[in-house]
Symmetry: C2
Subunit: 432 residues, 2 copies
């Protein structure tokens, strides 16, 4: 028995996007190109061919405003997309605000994070080029498990180097990678030259994404059958994530005539925040709304708020092209905070560029403030947010508390934290 | 950019049910009453009052066909309900069947299982009666975490006794309970007389749900502010779970004119299978369709396929009323299989009754067959099923493989297995 009235505060009635949105086409200045580390010249397709399939190389430099999502990718997206835009009534009540707060929730994907949006696309384009093996790095494991899932969809073997701090403290995402048929190593490992060199110099290192990138890139370069996949930072990754923001803009329009006053997302490599925010920047450029857009990063790894905007390598060994970005320096090793996905020394060049253009601002949140926000969120809404996402929640809480009138706020909830529960347990013990 | 065409194979367009469905009202014979262990007479409201609030006691014996879902409960349900009915195209392809297989997926709830459907209702009725503390038992931890979440919604403290085998091998659900503000103990514990007695006799026991029930019941009885909550077995729990089947019947009707040919669900205490199946039995009784309904249980704990149908206690210490059910005997301690939610010696009296009336049949699946099905499911669909749910998947796979024509099948996917990943890792290692 049911009535036709629908109580659901989850807004899912919009369709799965047919295209990815390329903000670069709408910006007054182009995103600075990636440079070849040897020549200092912009990298061309031939430079990238040992690492990436042709479809992704084309997307890295495309000037098209919309890029069509291939049907096989869209069909897999449709298993969980559109992801819900959830009105957080219980959370609003818990924090005592009259603002209307929405979460765009990517935890509904099979692996529980936004990473699947790019993983499926990357596996597809590699499959098109006949690639049978992909190597990658992962922090907390969201990206590695997403790529393992995507690889299983297209018959591609996936080999993952996971940052040691996360590999040791959070084994579940490694189990997940194996369940999908993938392989996982702790990084730095003895399997690559880059790893052996780092271990010789700093045997007790907790690892870093920059180190793990070096290992995965090297493993791809030495194997002609293999290619490399990056889970954030690059333009094509950001492009894939724009399904998030496109849906959110459409969903919000169904319930809020004025659009958003502010959009908050966590930023590690930047693809989550950029994927949510870029369609909102399109709204700004076209004059439909003018939200504040905030990238919430950890105080332990504050690339936007404390880093320099300059060309730097994406990895420790200096194997990647030079990227124009906010960076703490390729050798920066952040404390082993629980938000493993935010422990990256640099920031997406596309997102960095929008920061420089004034569309996005950064804010840094310390770990305990983030977890306190996560616990409040879990006890009210029920969803346990990923430690990364708690940074965005905390930043939004601070902003609505300081606002002088009720606001409409969208929080990017990049994933759930069910596989990060030891981090919550540790935080709660520290509070006793 | 999007078109109005919707690719999504998830069927979520039906509304959240307004009522729970009480199959008892439609059966030719009543469900045998629970008996007082002292007098052998049917238990009355006064007997149950130390354990349960008045609203739930009324539901335990109601003869109403539909029981209205209170608005506060329905509002919380609406955060994730209707749960999706997913056409499993990738899984169908992986197992090479032309049958059309659907999963009714309860893993979208905040804690990742169907248990929230009853937990929220039970917390609500206790809150109505002014109860401030609930005690309960849990196996793998789905029920304990669901009740901890529900308690947080209504300001009720939740104290959980978890079966030792699961407490030690799968700590994440314990962390989840703490994140929601609940308390958790390994069972048997030294906190109760029942626990101390069991530990004195069998200090190395892996625990059982029957033991944990004894501890939680005792803790509620000795504390006048506290009540007890049971996560399965009883009529009111089964009643709450009928939101699953009501939605599934409606959702399936949108895409399959003839309804289902078969419905598979895993059965431990029985509430998951009954919640899915009872609305399908209503369809049988009213002549709209005639699906085979299968309760998949583990060979390690085969209460329907190997147990006796008789009156037995729900717990080891004999504190609960006598229940007419399929039972392996209250002292039965199953092997510590990973499907902790299926390690219960008895079976819901309501479900047992429908087995006796011929509406439901049991089948037993061994653990490795279940995990093999789970891995095939994960690698194709992406969703990692709860170990409990893999029993239903395996049973459905066997049935469609033996069918002589394409069938329409509904599998009850009671939850996801993200917090049970060590079990998958162990299974995969055994296969190498």
């Amino acid at each position: 028995m049911s009535t036709s009235a629908d109580l659901s505060p989850d807004i899912t009635t919009v369709a799965v996007p047919t295209h990815w949105y390329n903000l670069a086409a709408d910006l007054p200045e182009p995103i600075p190109p990636h440079l070849h580390p040897g020549t200092g010249e912009p990298v061309g397709p031939d430079d990238l061919a040992p690492l990436f399939p042709s479809g992704l190389i084309a997307q890295e430099v495309t000037t098209e405003r919309y890029v069509e999502i291939p049907e096989p990718v869209r069909e897999i997206y449709a298993r969980w997309r559109p992801s819900p835009l959830i009105r957080l009534k219980a959370f609003e009540k818990a924090i005592g605000t009259t603002s209307r707060i929405y979460a765009k929730y990517e935890g509904v994907s099979p692996v529980g994070s936004h990473k699947t949006n790019s993983a499926v696309a990357q596996a597809y384009y590699n499959h098109l080029d006949g690639v049978t093996k992909l190597t990658t790095e992962t922090g907390a494991g969201q990206w590695g498990s997403a790529l393992a899932f995507a690889g299983a969809q297209f018959g591609i073997d996936v080999e993952v180097w996971q940052v040691r701090a996360s590999y040791e403290s959070k084994p579940y995402r490694g189990y997940l990678i194996r369940t999908y048929g993938g392989t996982i190593h702790s990084s730095p490992s003895t399997l690559t030259e880059a790893g052996r060199k780092i271990l010789a110099e700093t045997p007790d290192t907790t690892g870093s994404l920059g180190m793990a990138v070096s290992e995965a890139v090297e493993a791809a370069v030495v194997d002609p059958e293999a290619r490399y996949a990056l889970g954030s930072v690059l333009n094509h990754v950001v492009l894939h994530q724009t399904v998030i923001g496109q849906e959110a803009v459409e969903q919000l329009a169904l319930v809020e005539d004025g659009g958003a006053d502010a959009v908050f997302g966590c930023a590690g490599g930047g693809s989550n925040l950029a994927g949510l925010a870029f369609p909102f920047i399109r709204e700004k450029i076209e004059g439909r709304s003018d939200p504040l857009i905030v990238a919430a990063e950890p105080t332990a790894c504050p690339s936007i708020t404390k880093g320099e905007y300059r060309y730097d390598h994406g990895d420790v060994a200096g194997l990647t092209p030079l990227l124009k970005m906010h960076t703490l320096g390729k050798d920066f090793v952040p404390d082993p905070i629980h938000a493993g996905g935010l422990r990256y020394h640099g920031m997406s060049p596309a997102l960095s560029h929008t920061v420089e253009l004034g569309y996005v601002q950064g804010t840094a949140i310390d770990q305990d403030t983030a977890f306190a926000a996560g616990v409040t969120f879990a006890r009210s809404q029920g969803i346990v947010p990923a430690p990364e996402s708690t940074h965005a929640i905390a930043a939004a809480m601070q902003w609505v508390a300081e606002a002088d009138e009720p606001k409409v706020v969208v929080i990017g909830l990049s994933g759930h934290g069910q596989l990060d529960l030891p981090a919550y347990a540790e935080y709660l013990e520290r509070q006793q």
